[in-house]
């Protein structure tokens, strides 16, 4: 899949994996890809984000707020409050029975990516209980879709390669994803960003 990706575009994916791991997320989502893009401020198109104040640090903090540990986040808590449910109280009671962090354990979520198929090497002991660091995190469906969109974006403008700018455009999915939600959370309009990036790239060409 990555054959036609430029070096910086590959670096985006590698960085996305690192960001996900640092956040303790066992999956690779559009939010991590966006952080990967922001780690390449000099790549074409990325200046549109930085000019709007969307920096790596701010975005990383926003991922923490929006996605949290992958469990129930603040926006879930707000939504539950509209039903009269106090998530903090639920969490307190659950933790009293099951220990700290019980409700927010990432593997509890059924939205979490499916387990990797078991390796067929029963004689070899697993190196690490928490998962091998060199192992790739599974792509969430929207992240996969974003990369497919990146390829289409490149093809649409006749580019042979897939660069950071195409990945960025791929992330700005009109069908929305966590990256798009994150940009909205940072008071920017993803639609405006998409138009600006396209215009900038058109000028550069």
């Amino acid at each position: 899949m990555f054959e036609r990706f430029t070096q910086p575009a590959r670096a985006v994916v590698v960085r996305a994996q690192e960001e996900a791991r640092t956040l303790g997320h066992p999956w690779l989502g559009t939010e991590h890809l966006l952080l990967g893009v922001l780690a390449q401020p000099l790549a074409p198109g990325v200046n549109v984000l930085t000019e709007l104040g969307v920096t790596l640090d701010r975005s990383r903090a926003a991922v923490g707020e929006l996605v949290g540990s992958g469990g129930l986040c603040q926006s879930d808590a707000d939504a539950l409050r509209t039903l009269g449910i106090d998530l903090d109280e639920v969490r307190r009671r659950v933790e009293a029975s099951f220990g700290p962090g019980a409700l927010d354990h990432p593997w509890l979520s059924l939205n979490a990516p499916p387990r990797q198929p078991r390796r067929r090497r029963p004689w070899r002991r697993r190196r690490c209980e928490q998962g091998d660091v060199t192992e790739h995190l599974p792509f969430m469906p929207r992240a996969k879709r974003a990369l497919e969109r990146a390829m289409r974006e490149a093809r649409a403008v006749g580019d042979e390669y897939i660069g950071v700018e195409h990945v960025l455009l791929g992330l700005l999915d009109p069908k929305s994803n966590t990256a798009v939600e994150l940009l909205r959370h940072l008071d920017t309009d993803p639609e405006v960003i998409r138009i600006r990036v396209r215009t900038d790239l058109g000028k550069a060409a």
Partner: protein, 69 residues
Amino acid sequence: MTEAVDAAAAATNQDPRVGLRAVAALRQLVERLEALQVDSARRHGWSWEEIGQALGVSRQAAHKKHGRR
């Protein structure tokens, strides 16, 4: 008190976005609670039959959903 006020506000809130978001969060909460309780039941030696019965689903359904975690 504020909870009651919030709940009352929600009941009168006609915006589907708010309502649907709340349903999504509630579902997420339910799934997590279910996973915790099923794991705990397994640790206490419950069979899938018993777990299914308590959850109101079949033994197979309970195992299919939670067996591989």
